[in-house]
């Protein structure tokens, strides 16, 4: 058992090293920008962990969409699918879930219990559909998914804009947002007295399921094999890579789609243009910090949830623009990559 613990702890150590390196560079940049790093970091920590309620209502709530999109990216990347389109898939999911939910404004009580699961399914299906376009273009036409998933993000954003100021606009017709979803479609609260909703639990359960699938099933093995090398996987003659690639796209899209609807059903209650501040992109950083391990996506998402929850406090209490946080996320990606390469180089030197 000791050996296995060591193997499990090494990635955690690497992630910690990357975090420390990021904080050091971020502190230096803050100092150059004329801010006090100590003041900024302490505001950030207070904002994210200052009280039990801050942790549950802000950090964990912010972590929820990052957890689901982070899983989406981790699974896709592990299977060699460069899905940069979680943002668009998130919007597609949110739109589909909301469209279903607001169609049944009277749903309530025991007779309305079906609405939430149906909306969840609709969101997952819409996210998967949004990922199916790049999947078809990659497998049938050989068009790289990096570009197509990026382009699909913009189509989704504009589609959302159109829908919330057109067909799905609230009945009052004042703001560019949908009507409020009926109570039966909302996700229940997880902790009474806090804003934490059942979406977080759903994310944790899905992370566990994804981890089991990737590490303990033949399907997961196929995904990892295709991700390691499509050509080698096909040359083994055991299976074709294309169905695996399709599956990775669809699962990834479905998870990102869920993220969008879970945010509406658990937090906002309505859909509007700027629903996501870029979670689909931050998800890349989350997945990478988790080293593409679905189980590790949970703590990685909490780290980024804390950054985002603390970012607001940093702006309020220390006068540091929130945009710093997004820059810091990018630093973290680079730090993870650098730590990775550094370790590899060290291994090679040892022979």
């Amino acid at each position: 058992m000791t050996v296995r613990w060591g193997a499990a702890l090494r990635p955690a150590g690497q992630a910690a090293a990357a975090l420390v390196a990021t904080l050091a560079v971020a502190a230096a940049l803050l100092a150059i920008g004329g801010h006090s790093p100590v003041e900024a970091f302490s505001a950030l920590v207070r904002g994210a962990f200052g009280s039990w309620n801050r942790f549950a209502s802000f950090t964990l709530v912010q972590a929820t969409p990052l957890l689901l999109t982070g899983l989406a990216v981790a699974i896709a990347f592990k299977a060699g699918v460069w899905n940069i389109g979680a943002e668009g898939q998130l919007y597609a999911g949110a739109l589909a879930g909301v469209a279903v939910a607001v169609s049944f404004p009277g749903a309530a009580g025991a007779s309305g219990l079906w609405l939430l699961p149906v909306a969840l399914l609709a969101a997952a299906a819409a996210g998967a559909l949004w990922a199916a376009v790049p999947a078809a273009m990659k497998t049938r036409l050989g068009v790289g998914e990096v570009i197509t998933t990026l382009l699909m993000n913009f189509v989704a954003l504009f589609l959302a804009q159109y829908l919330v100021q057109g067909p799905l606009q609230e009945a009052r017709g004042v703001f560019n947002q949908t009507d409020e979803i009926p109570a039966a479609a909302a996700l229940p609260s997880l902790l009474p007295g806090s804003r934490l909703h059942a979406g977080f639990l759903l994310g944790v359960v899905l992370a566990g399921a994804a981890w089991l699938y990737m590490t303990r099933t033949p399907g997961g093995f196929r995904m990892r094999a295709v991700g390691a090398s499509t050509r080698a996987a096909e040359a083994s003659g055991r299976f074709a890579a294309q169905p695996v690639t399709w599956l990775a796209f669809l699962v990834s899209g479905a998870l990102a789609g869920l993220a969008g609807w879970v945010q509406v059903a658990g937090v906002t209650g309505r859909m509007y243009e700027g629903l996501s501040p870029g979670w689909g992109y931050t998800a890349i950083a989350v997945a990478l910090l988790a080293r593409l391990n679905p189980a590790a996506v949970v703590p990685a998402a909490v780290v980024f949830g804390a950054l985002s929850a603390g970012g607001g406090a940093m702006q309020r209490d220390a006068g540091v623009p929130e945009a710093w946080v997004r820059g810091t996320e990018a630093l973290l990606i680079l730090a993870v990559l650098a730590v990775d390469r550094g370790l590899e180089a060290a291994r090679r030197r040892r022979g």
């Binding site: 940049l29 920008g33 004329g34 460069w82 940069i84 376009v133 273009m137 036409l141 050989g142 068009v143 790289g144 990096v146 570009i147 197509t148 990026l150 382009l151 699909m152 993000n153 913009f154 189509v155 504009f158 589609l159 804009q161 159109y162 100021q165 057109g166 870029g278 992109y281 931050t282 890349i284 950083a285 990478l288 540091v320 623009p321 945009a323 710093w324 946080v325 997004r326 820059g327 810091t328 996320e329 990018a330 630093l331 990606i333 680079l334 990559l337 650098a338 990775d340 390469r341 590899e344 090679r348």
Partner: protein, 309 residues
């Protein structure tokens, strides 16, 4: 008469919108020909827009253009240090540089000008009118009455084509992008070539950004690159890694974006957001239709030297 006026203003809008895309895509073409896909070009564009704004405030619009080019280069330098020298994954590194640039430009902008959102007014790059040519009916004003960046595109397309396909340096650069092992065996400096190609791409990406702030809008706002760098990468594919094709693809995209103005002028009642989505849908369709006949540089996006295991 009204139709020619609509046509002329449509073309002017199309060329104006195509110029930043063409600049960024020409830069990305050079980088991808050397085997490096840099989706961080989006970061070069936004850094260029801010660099252009700061330069213009300090010492006028031409210094602004230089500032934009420098800032775009700086973003590309970060990318090159990681993706070329540390040999990290090109796509993830590019995404990080794009994300980081969007964040830090926003932070710098807010620190310097406040978060209140008062629009910044910048001195724009003056338009040059080419005698005679600018009086050609309909197309003349669109093509021959523009800022320096427009003419730069006219110069760059033939120059880059000639460089890439008719010079020994261009051959070396393409060899590095097709077969880095063979190129190294032949004595070519693979990493240095790739670094220079990426920096050149960042320089043009920065100029594209400076065009946005100093020609197109006369202001800077957060996230104003709005995915133009990402679109440029699609344009490189559509243009089949050839400067001439890239120019054509950029013009196609510029026309698709300008269509919104023409349709509005003709009272076609399409919802505005759908018009905005049109260029992205069209480029997806174009990728699906044309891609089968083109081929990316063989070593594009692959780690070099090859990673063990």
């Amino acid at each position: 008469m009204a139709e020619t006026a609509v046509m002329a203003s449509f073309l002017t809008a199309a060329v104006g919108l195509a110029v930043p895309l063409a600049l960024a895509a020409l830069g990305e073409t050079v980088s991808e020909r050397a085997g490096v896909i840099n989706i961080g070009i989006e970061g070069s564009v936004i850094c260029g827009a801010l660099g252009g704004a700061l330069g213009s405030l300090a010492a006028g619009p031409y210094v602004g253009l230089a500032g934009g080019a420098t800032a775009g280069c700086a973003a590309a330098l970060v990318f090159a240090v990681f993706a070329v020298h540390l040999n990290t994954d090109q796509i993830i590194t590019g995404a990080a540089v794009a994300l980081g640039s969007l964040g830090f430009t926003g932070a710098v902008f807010q620190s310097r000008f406040g978060a209140t959102g008062v629009a910044l007014e910048l001195e724009t790059v003056p338009a040059w009118e080419v005698p005679l040519l600018s009086h050609i009916p309909i197309a003349g004003p669109a093509l021959f009455h523009g800022a320096a960046t427009v003419y730069l595109v006219y110069l760059l397309v033939p120059a880059l084509w000639w460089f890439l396909f008719r010079t020994r340096w261009g051959l070396a650069l393409r060899a590095v992008g097709e077969a880095p092992e063979a190129a190294q065996a032949a004595g070519l400096p693979v990493k240095a070539t790739r670094t220079l190609a990426v920096l050149f791409g960042g320089l043009l990406g920065g100029l594209a950004g400076a065009h946005l702030s100093l020609v197109h809008t006369g202001t800077f706002s957060e996230n104003m690159s709005a995915g133009k760098g990402f679109v440029a990468i699609a344009i490189v594919v559509l243009g089949r890694w050839d400067p001439r094709g890239v120019l054509a693809a950029a013009l196609f995209f510029g026309c698709a974006e300008a269509l919104q103005f023409a349709l509005q002028a003709m009272d076609v009642d399409l919802p505005y957001p759908l018009l905005l989505a049109l260029p992205y849908v069209l480029s997806l369709a174009a990728l699906a239709g044309w891609f089968g006949r083109s081929r990316a540089p063989a070593a594009l996006a692959l780690p070099w030297p090859k990673r063990p295991g």
